[in-house]
Amino acid sequence: MEGIRRLTKTIQVYRAEQAVPIDFRLPGDAKECFGLQAVVVGQIPTVRPVIPVFGEYSLEFEGKKVHPVNFIVPYVKQQGFDEETHHRPGLLPLSVAIEDNRLVTGFYRDLGEQDLMDEVGFAPYMVKFTFSLRTQR
């Protein structure tokens, strides 16, 4: 039976310009990854309400055989939510068939956009990747 599963993988970022490896296996019933969403979660010290290019990521499927996505993650300050910024993050369309090798690898890199102040320092945050998967049981 065909279905859709939305799988979330969360990474932690602890320092400026850190590159965090991504390495996991998709579930056994996944047949296709048709979309991806990435959001930053955390309270970031910045005076800017929106940072359009806050981090970047790169993902490979099928044990590095398929490299469909290099993209950016924006940051929107909670206090800066308004009609322009308060919207649902869209789905980045992918169309990656999942074969025998279910390994997803890659990295997320912080781009050093936090406004670092001595008394505060770098604010650790999370990035959530949500993979939209077609499944077959």
Partner: protein, 126 residues
């Protein structure tokens, strides 16, 4: 028979970082869950909050699913606020269960009520 229903699930969130489970049944007069939309009293509360959802025993959203992926701001028209499901999710009185987790960010106040709306339709509606 009506073809649309927006079924409301009310979730009381008592305190910061609360984890609140909810259960229920979809209206049996409607065959399909077409979409979902979460409304919180402040946009701040959406930042980092998660909602898991299972309908009829099928996982729709996993434990770590960010609420921002299933909500929208005031500037979005009501019929466009909903996250639409590509897959056919059978309603028809199916049991649902889920868990809402508050992110506990500074600057928010408690308690509050999270509202989850299920958009139920009959098959002729796409």
């Amino acid at each position: 028979m009506k073809n649309h229903k927006f079924q409301l699930i009310r979730i009381g969130v008592p305190s910061a970082k609360a984890s609140v489970r909810f259960t229920g049944e979809t209206d049996k007069r409607y065959k399909r869950v077409r979409g979902v939309f979460v409304a919180l009293p402040s946009p701040l509360l959406e930042y980092g909050s998660t909602l898991s959802l299972k309908v009829g025993g099928t996982d729709i959203f996993d434990e770590d699913h960010d609420v921002r992926l299933i909500t929208a701001g005031l500037g979005v028209a009501p019929n466009e606020k909903f996250f639409l499901f590509e897959e056919f999710i059978e309603a028809g009185g199916a049991a649902f269960e889920g868990k809402f987790m508050d992110a506990g960010l500074e600057g928010t106040s408690y308690p509050y009520e999270a509202k989850v709306f299920l958009w139920l339709v009959n098959p002729e509606d796409k």
